[in-house]
Amino acid sequence: MTLAQSLWREGIKTGAIGGISVLAISLVGMVESFNKRDIIADFLSMGIAFIMVFGIILPYIAAKRTTRPEKHIIFLNALTAGLVTAVFPALLVILGNIINLRSMFVNASPVLYNLLTSGVEGVGGILILLLAGILCGAFAGLLFFLPGLIRSVIIVCLTSILAVGIVQDLIRPLFSSWGIMEVVSEWLFTQNGLTIAGTIFIPIFVGAIYMFWQLKGEGIKTRYNTLESGTQKSVKMSSFFVLAIFLIFLPHILGLFLSEVLTIVGLYILLGLGLNIVVGYAGLLDLGYVAFYAIGAYIAAILTSPAIGAFTLTFWQALPFAVMGGIFAGILLGIPVLKMRGDYLAIATLGFGEIIRILVLSDFLKPWLGGAQGIAKIPNPAIFGWQLSTPQEIYYLILLGCILVVFISVRLRDSRLGRAWMAMREDEDVAQAMGINLVSTKLLAFATGAGFSALSGAIMVSKIGSVYPHSFNVFISINIVCLIIVGGIGSIPGVIVGAAALVGLPELLREFADYRMLVYGAVLVGMMLLRPEGLWPEARHKMELHGEENGSDETQTATAA
């Protein structure tokens, strides 16, 4: 028994994790609702693909974690993990056929059972399910023994099928607007899912690019590094130029819907960069960050909307007031929480965020702020008489804002103030003993972050044309904190990647909308376990977290010393 335990422990343990995960996604209804869409037309639905991802990843982890050197034991562990993963849904199906589970789990329906057993009734269906588990496990086991390059190419190919399959609804309209591309689109996609041709062609295409980069990438990089600095500069300049052209034409390539998503992502990038200064640079966990977004939005609304009527400034006249208002509020919030750190600061700022929301919602301020009805008729911004009304036009305003804020963020990071923030984040006492004025340094962090947030708020209301208290709930703050963590704390490109991943993707994948918070939670836990430094970490943070892996000589000298 003990021998068996030690031999198959990883397989059973990891398999159980997989099985419970599959049960969870089935019972919350994710599998069923994803099943309406196909990744590959009439062959593989999104729901099944989702289960298969668990069925392959966890056996792979089991194989990786097996400490025994024997190859067959590693392989059998992967197989066991796959089988155990399948046993859980199999038990669910058996149990569900005996007693009615729907009183407790609404989604435990015959449709779900049907889906899990691929439509086969009785014992046959259960066997199919278990067999599928074993096959997934075997696949993962084989994958584990493949050489690194081939393995990563296979993973990239499979991921590309999955990714293209999920976002196909967005790719198809893109293609259709380009004449000849429509033929290609019809060759690759059906109305629901990839065609067989697409299933074969897309991974080959993506895999080939990936393989080329893996084999030749290093060579290209070294060749770039050996170039003269002048040539390097012109390569850099021209890639910047290409990027700029790309960004300018982006909304026209993407069309209306995707441009709208892009503008939302852009607004979150502004918010994220602001909070990145407070949380990432200065280390002050602010959970009431939405308050400044609301303040910027409301100031812009009051100053421009004829519905309130007190002022009817243009967007550009109101913008400085909105930003200044945000900065002022940032300082005002900063003063009482100067001595707080960590959890206490988080709770105090959380309260501040709610106070602002409740204030704008209150009847007491209704004559000025509109109460629950909010403020409407906010004019769109104009540049030299050109009214920016569609998302495709507003995009340029947001792009401009993002460029400005990225520029300020970079300059601040490399400045004396940026250093002072970092020192303060690391150790307040020592920072003070180095001559850093904690009061002004902290307040400047709050003020800068709040200013960016207010800018985002002002642009947001002028884009939408109205403002309501309920758009400023605490989830916005949490969302922004999450996107910073997922992107990589303190990293500017990280904020952009994080915003695209956590704000852009859910907008694109409407199926996820109901499960947004669930997915967020899972993504955060997964990130903390697998990649705590974030998707695009700041170089220094990465070095710190993974210092032991590539700095073994230092640990040696440390012990030798």
Partner: protein
């Protein structure tokens, strides 16, 4: 007039009376040591001098000027720099950036660069690791960095809080060598130590502090031969 004078200082942590009527004098160019057991008030004395803790009674005078009205970050500009206990380097910044932080009060870039080179000359080990993230340095290197960082502000008085703490004996020797080098270069040093023997060997005078009170004050040699000191702080019978 003494360079630094602590006059009848009383300091509190909340209701806890941490320093009871502490008085110290440090002359220019001297190494003075403050020895005592755990929780005796050694670090508290340093925190009070560097302004991180404000005394409730008593005064701290630097060249005759009362420091009571200055905040901690202003006291650095007066020429007092502390090397905190347990090193407390900025783990996420590189070695060079840590040193730059030490010169935060200085705005002259050329002077900072010169100072960095001076520190690297003094601690060649740090020079080898100048681009490395400080959190990955060994304990001894971190102590070197903590001292180097403090020296970046060209202090008149260096407050050293237990520089030998948690270091291997070889490294402790290296740290004390460095202290002597700094002394030879003219820096005034207030050294807080649990390792009383080594501290008294480099210091000219010493104070013994017990439960917040200075109980003994003498030249270092006589403290080294004092029975009470030998028993309590050097582990002899």
């Amino acid at each position: 007039m003494a360079m630094l004078e602590v006059q009848n200082v009383h300091a509190y942590y909340g209701k806890i009376h941490a320093l009871k009527n502490v008085s110290l004098k440090i002359e220019k160019g001297e190494i003075v040591t403050l020895i005592g057991g755990n929780g005796a008030g050694k670090s508290t004395t340093l925190r009070t001098i560097s302004g991180l803790l404000k005394p409730r009674e008593g005064a701290i005078l630097l060249n005759g000027e009362n420091l009571a009205d200055y905040k901690a970050h202003q006291i650095v500009t007066k020429g007092i720099t502390q090397v905190p206990e347990g090193r407390r380097i900025f783990g996420q910044l590189t070695v060079t950036e840590n040193l730059d932080m030490g010169a935060f009060i200085c705005r002259d870039k050329k002077l900072i660069a010169e100072n960095v080179e001076r520190i690297f000359e003094m601690f060649p080990r740090l020079n080898e690791r100048r681009k490395q993230v400080a959190g990955t340095l060994s304990g001894g290197e971190q102590q070197m960095l903590a001292m180097g960082r403090a020296l970046m502000s060209n202090p008149e008085i260096l407050l050293l809080d237990e520089p030998s703490m948690g270091l291997a004996p070889v490294l402790v020797d290296a740290v004390f060598e460095t202290i002597q080098k700094l002394h030879a270069a003219g820096t005034t040093i207030l050294l807080v130590e649990q390792n009383a023997r080594m501290a008294l060997q480099v210091a000219s005078r010493g104070y013994v502090i017990q439960t917040g009170e200075v109980v003994l004050h003498d030249v270092a040699d006589s403290l080294l031969n004092n029975d009470m000191v030998r028993k309590s702080y050097m582990g002899e019978n």
